[in-house]
Amino acid sequence: MNQLRLLNVSKTYKNGVKALDDVSIEINSGMFGLLGPNGAGKSTLMRTIATLQQPDSGEIYLDDIDILNQKMELRKVLGYLPQSFGVYPKLSAEKLLHYFAELKGLSNKAERKQIVDYALEVTNLYDVKNKHVAGYSGGMKQRFGIAQLLLNNPKLIIVDEPTAGLDPAERHRFLNVLREIGTNHIVILSTHIVDDVKELCTDMAILNGGKLLCHKKPIDAVLDLKDKIWGLTIDRESVERYESEYNIISTNYNQDNSLNIRVYGETSPGDEFMKVEPDLSDVYFVHLKGDEVEATNPQS
């Protein structure tokens, strides 16, 4: 059983943006989903854990590894897939994976080959292993990213928005791989796609403006909203009126140009509203909404 602990991690960029604001969290083995809108600080957090970036203050531990001071120790057990990455041109997947295996300290040549082949198999790249990775499509490259991550059988896996750009089949395959590894290790998955978390995460948190808003199991988070989400179908013309009167957390169109709105409230906002089953998206929006209100009325 592994545990990752962040204590009061803060980071402010030169341009004044507070990317991480006193983040403290404990993450245990299993899949951990980090949800948050664009620019919430997810990548900063991921990079900080992955030893690529130094926070201004705070401490991070993986079990007994003090990550900020024992970077090399962490790197031995880390698998990291950044949001976007490139590779050396004119090199095949197989060659590059061997290169990475060596970088990760795999010392036995035969074993190296075995694990590279296995990683290629797992990521469905075996057929194209001799092709240049630089020429891969976005999805293939992403799978290559997973393959390189697996090579050292990592204890801590950090994947930053991995499913963006994958087709449905690949996305499933990808998530399955992650889930499979996540049974014994810590997998941190950052995403802004709620479904990714819903489908496989055992634990999750929402990050917005550098602050952690909610750290719960997805099931619990959804359960918390039971009887608090109210739905209504309205026409386009009345959107403004509803928006000013109700705490709308999401709207989406139907094909006939009518709109479904969902409202958060301890009690029914009005007779016309129907109680609806909450889902993870509601959790996400409710927290963001709450954070936004708080941020605009700091005195309260």
């Binding site: 990455f85 050396y88 010392s107 074993e111 050292n152």
Partner: protein, 1219 residues
Amino acid sequence: MFSKIFKFEIKSWFQAPITYIYSVIMFIFAFLMMASAGGLFDNFTVTTTSPTYENSALAINGMINVLSVFLYFLLPSIVGASINKDFKYDMHQVLYSYPISKASYLFGKFLSAMSIVIGIILLICLGVYIGTIFPGTNPDLFTDFDIWNYVQPLLIFVIPNILLYGAVVFAVVTFSRNIFIGFISVLILITIQSFAQSLTADIDNKTLSALIDPLGAQALGLETEYWTVFERNNNPLPFEGYIIYNRLLWAAISILIFSFVFFKFKFNQQAIQFKLFKSKAERVIKRNFGSLIRIQLPHAEKAYHFKHWLKMAWKHSNFEARYIFKNWVFISFAIVTLIITLSTLAVRTPIYGTSTYPVTRELMQNASGVVSGFIIIITFLLVGMLVNRAKSSNMNQLVDVTPFPNWSFLLAKFIAIFKMQASFYILALVLAVGVQVYNEYYKLELDLYLFQFFAIDYLRVLAWTVMAFLFHSLIKNHIVGFISLLAFLILLGFFPQFGIEQSIFRFNSGGGATYSDMVGYGPGLKVFYVYRLYWFSLAAVLYILAIIFYRRGVSYSAKQRIELAQEKMNPLYKSIIAVCLVMFVGLGSWIYYNDNVINERLSGNERELLQVQYEKQYSHLKMLNSPRITSININLDLFPDIRDFKAKGEFILKNKTEQPIDSILVNLNDYYVQSYALDKEGKAILKDTVYDFEIFKFDKSLLPGEEVTFTFYMRNKPNTILNNNSPVRTNGTFINNRIFPSFGYSEGYEISNNKTREKYDLELKERMKSPYDSTALGNTYLTDDADWIDFETTVSTSKNQIAIAPGYLQEEWEDGERRYFHYKMDKKILNFYAFNSAEYEVYEDQWNDVNLQVFYHKPHDYNIDRMISGAKKALDYYSENFSPYQFKQLRILEFPLTSGSFAQSFANTVPYSEAIGFIAKVDDEDDDSVDYPFSVTAHEVAHQWWAHQVIGADVRGATLLSESMSEYSSLKVLEREYGAQQMRVFLKDALDRYLRGRRFESQKELPLMLNENQQYIHYNKGSLVLYAMSDYLGEEKMNRILESYIDKVAFQEPPYTTSVEFVNLLKQNTPDSLQYLVKDMFETITLYDNRITEATSDTLDNGTYEVKLKAYAQKYRSSEKGEKIFSNAEGESIGFETEKDTLESLPLRDYIEIGVFGETDETIDGVKKENVLYLKKHLISEINNEFTIIVDEKPIEVGIDPYNKLIDTDSGDNRMKVE
């Protein structure tokens, strides 16, 4: 749209820090360059003097163009980056979908970037200008400010060149979308430029070189090659002839390149790609089904220990090296290096059209010179590319989170860089050996190549390689890193001028080891390694810094990087740094102590002050009469193995004056351990240990005619690792009499440059005294403490060597491991002698009853017969025409090039450098290839007459009587042996050297008979003038004059003869009609400007041809600064109005050759023999002349002074084809 793009670009340049960095660097460089040329740092270094102004148009043009070379390397990151940034940041995908016109996009980009560059150039001009007016500079070195001197260089050269380079870089980057390819294109242009420059080594290629030089520098060089000091100071840049052609040609090329970009450019997603093989198209379907349920990663052992990372560093060095070898930057560099190396090696340095045998020594030195420069630059570039490799592929995040340690990353890259560097050396080796084999030369000394390249050259590059790693580790942007490294390298070059002269303060400098076939590398090698060790200990520290500052991860502030670096500083690194720093400081202190405390080290400025002080304090001693040496007996013991010597000498000194002499000034030498004694009562009354002389006062004065014996003992101080305290070499020792004590005030030690004298309030003086000053004729120009002396010596050396000195061998014996030689002269000789010792082979021959010997280094046996033949033919000619040879032997001895590349003539003894003659490869088939082993030997033999029989007094014009006469004499021998064709090669070269020599005159040009030991006058002009004189008078008559002159003055006692005496004799024997020649050629500086302007011919009825030709003849005198003067002393001159301007000339009554030449099929040894139809000297008295000449055969070409016997700055227009 254009103006919007343009403005936007300019604005973004103004926001980019790089603009300011470049501007500041270039401004500072410009300022420093001009200020130091203007003497700003004179307080630290020797006083800067120059007869030319530093801010003349030519000087400013030169300076800005030198600075521009650095600017060219910045271009890829300015002009290239302006277009490349759109690709780099993927802006092009959005931008190219906008409705922008191609013209406004490309012109907007190009012109905005060029504006920035031109802005930087203006800053350079400003820097240069401030340099000229900066307080502390010497106003004598500058003329009045003239804006035109700046504008003209900008308009003719600097801006067109920068536009050309800019266009090329822009084109290349636009297509390749790679800034580095931009660097390569700059490099290729610079290569073309240096190729053009190398072409000029051969006079015949100058015009081609003037055209193909992209910078136009060779064209300017050609148009100004004979500019005198006056012209260089006062003329604006010429814009004529080849400069116009060159500028037009390259402007056209720039426009062509830009139009090519313009028409080919498309707003495309993909860069233009060149595909060699078309791959087959196929439909690709990926597997979409089949899921994965279990993952069971196979077990894999992991190792994080040192040994594993070390192994990986080696393995990954191959991985990195492969990247380098496949990289275009490397490939193009390698190709460029290959071409330049090959052209250098193939040509080598021909002397008078004659090349050398491709001996390993020469090829290895040439190759190492070319390759080392390239390696430094490519190392700076490639280290940047390697260090940033992951980052520039955007793979850094993947790589950075692996547990691979920094040191192993860096080590892999370092080894990869070594492999790259080694590949250049191997390339050089293969080329050099290829050239040897191609020339059927099979003494391949592979071990020597490998030693030079890897044990010397590579070690010189190593510290810079480490420095490159540190710079690129610290600096994120690798272009900025590269430029900073270059700037640092250039700045270091300026250090000595700022007064930082000691090598220990200048990164990676110190220690040099040149190789000679005779001595090997010599004691310099040890010093070289001491300095390398010194810098390596610093490099090790830098390397650790590079490791701990190696960038990993993203967005660190400077503060965080320092913190991180501190974290990475583990105890091992700390102890390495500590040990290396101790070593660095230790070695540095040792060297410093050695150079400054044990041995006094003086800066250039301090040396100058010492000279000033000597003169101020002691110049009254000039009046002190010295007794003169009449007899010399030296016992010299040479110990080649330990490079030591011991000497014991006995001089007999005689009071040759008519007054008693009460004291004697003895010059010693603190370099050696010395003591002396006189066999007459007295004591030293003054000992100056700064200038190392003593004044010994006799108790009783030395009476007129009285003799005294002066004995001295001397030996060298022991040699140490850092100090070679002895002139003795392990093989090839060459010592002359200057190491021994001498007598009297040393006037030669005084500062001779009048500008420097002025600065120190010293009375102005001429470099040499006037020949009309009868009090100055007491000394020969070789020595001032003796006339003719008896000479005897015993030299000992190691058993395997032969020691030689002037004189006949009396006895030779061995004693243990030593070998002794006793030499004695039977006639008096000059006080001018030398000792040589080496493991010699001996070749012996005979000329009449004279023994001829060549002592040579065994492998250098190529030209012994040519030297012997030269000696014999010379002895023949001179004894027939001048006077008998005074000795019974003549010996030629080879000495190492460590002593220089010259030959020198002592009495019956001629030391001859291994670098000239011994390895010359004379092509007898080629008439344009002068047999210089033959001619140089003839020249040196001639000195046995012209120096060792006739010796001039130490006044102006003395070298007319030695060097010019010897050149003339050897020319005659050469002519007799090889015919007139080799004369023409020789004289053409002499004319060129004389005219080019004038421009480098440091003080003033003087007429031949008054020359102040100026080589371009006494060798080059001297040979032209004497040869022409003998042509006009007739060889026979000329030689009779020389014979009678020798007869009159040979072996004379003081007062010695002067050039005036010779010229008077010449005048007496010259007919009135030719008296003007003596005046023109000997007494004044006179030049012609002769040219054919028209040439036509008609067939006459009787089958003959009537040739009509028009020719201009102009003659002028030149002032000592090179100003043309067209009127004689009486103020007379003649003129002629042409359509364009007025031509002027001195009054003419001159005989000038007119020639008509016909068709020829006759060839001799493959060279067309000239068919002379008519050649006669005509009396010419007008500028404009017409001639009608009837010849029998069809005329092809006509000429005025067609063989360039007269001195004419443009010899090319003396001939013209007949229409």
